[in-house]
Symmetry: C2
Subunit: 199 residues, 2 copies
């Protein structure tokens, strides 16, 4: 059986390392890339290297930045007494898109997951404790993902933080706005019932 030329195969292998990109998609992308102009391919390759070279973590909150501190930590209008803990920069961006949160963040870069060999020391928990020691934080909002790993990390953090003089809260679970009750899963519905509140 014949196969693609070596350099195409190498590209397919590289692309299929990306999350959610299987062999078939990698093939489709590789053939698209080969049909792009030389300049376009160089621009794309350059963007890969540049993004890796210029991006690092914010010294305070571990969000992505190309400077010392990220745009949020540099903004003096933000409320530095409230820290929202998130799993990833993508979750941070999701909260920013609401335009309703004015505090700052702490990005953990992962969740505790014993099955994947990720323990408390593998994510930015130590760094959060350091911040609690040096900054005047009043509330920590745990916005970890509503997955098993996220929940465990939130529970772990709430226990760890109970010894500090801090308000520790967890974002609410419930039925999504605009969603159909009928399609909500059982656990979400139970949580929504438990967290019911008077109108």
């Amino acid at each position: 059986m014949i196969s693609y030329p070596k350099s195409v195969k190498d590209l397919i292998d590289q692309l299929s390392k990306l999350p959610g990109i299987g062999q078939k998609t990698a093939q489709r992308l590789a053939l698209h890339i080969i049909n792009m102009s030389q300049a376009e391919v160089k621009a794309m390759a350059g963007a890969l290297v540049d993004a890796k070279a210029n991006t690092h973590y914010c010294k305070r909150c571990y969000n992505l930045t190309d400077e010392e501190y990220c745009g949020i930590c540099k903004n003096s209008k933000r409320d530095f007494t409230t820290v929202c803990v998130v799993d990833s920069p993508r979750d941070l961006m999701a909260i920013e898109r609401t335009r309703e949160y004015h505090g700052v963040y702490h990005v953990l870069h992962g969740s505790i997951s014993p099955l994947d060999d990720i323990g408390p020391d593998d994510i930015k928990i130590k760094e959060l404790l350091t911040r609690i020691g040096s900054e005047s934080i009043q509330e920590i909002i745990l916005a970890n993902s509503p997955t098993i790993e996220g929940e465990s990390t939130a529970v772990y953090l709430s226990k760890l933080l109970s010894s500090f003089d801090l308000k520790v809260t967890r974002i609410a679970h419930g039925v999504p706005v605009g969603g159909d009750l009928e399609y909500a899963d059982e656990i979400t519905l139970v949580k929504a019932m438990e967290s019911r509140h008077p109108l």
Copy 2:
């Protein structure tokens, strides 16, 4: 509203140019790439540039190759009197995977599609005619995709080729093996009925 650092935004923009990669997927891929090691990112960027630089079309059949002729055209055991016309190298690979076809190919690199401004001169049709003039081809199998564009291209080619002393065939339409008749669309079923043959 805050956004990603410029180099990350650039990478997201570049990735979202790829087919089937929207803004959300591009974001996910970009953040994955930033979490890869510097060496891994360089290898991936290098693979992009190398694949583009080293890959070109086979001089005879326009399949992808990193040499003058592709592996199929270089294989003297193949039957050079039978040419299978395909839309893309991916379709060629799909037929090669069957291990049942021993002829050679001609890759058109597209289908005639007036809506996308792709005419007969924009795909490798002239090149096919040149081959018919210079090689001793006996049969042309039209394996264009079973899409509207592919069908039109096949019809166009069959008319064009009718003036030559050649057998011109089209791959059969019908219900896929292992598929459920119930789920086959109407047009496929009609074609399958029309092409029925005695057992």
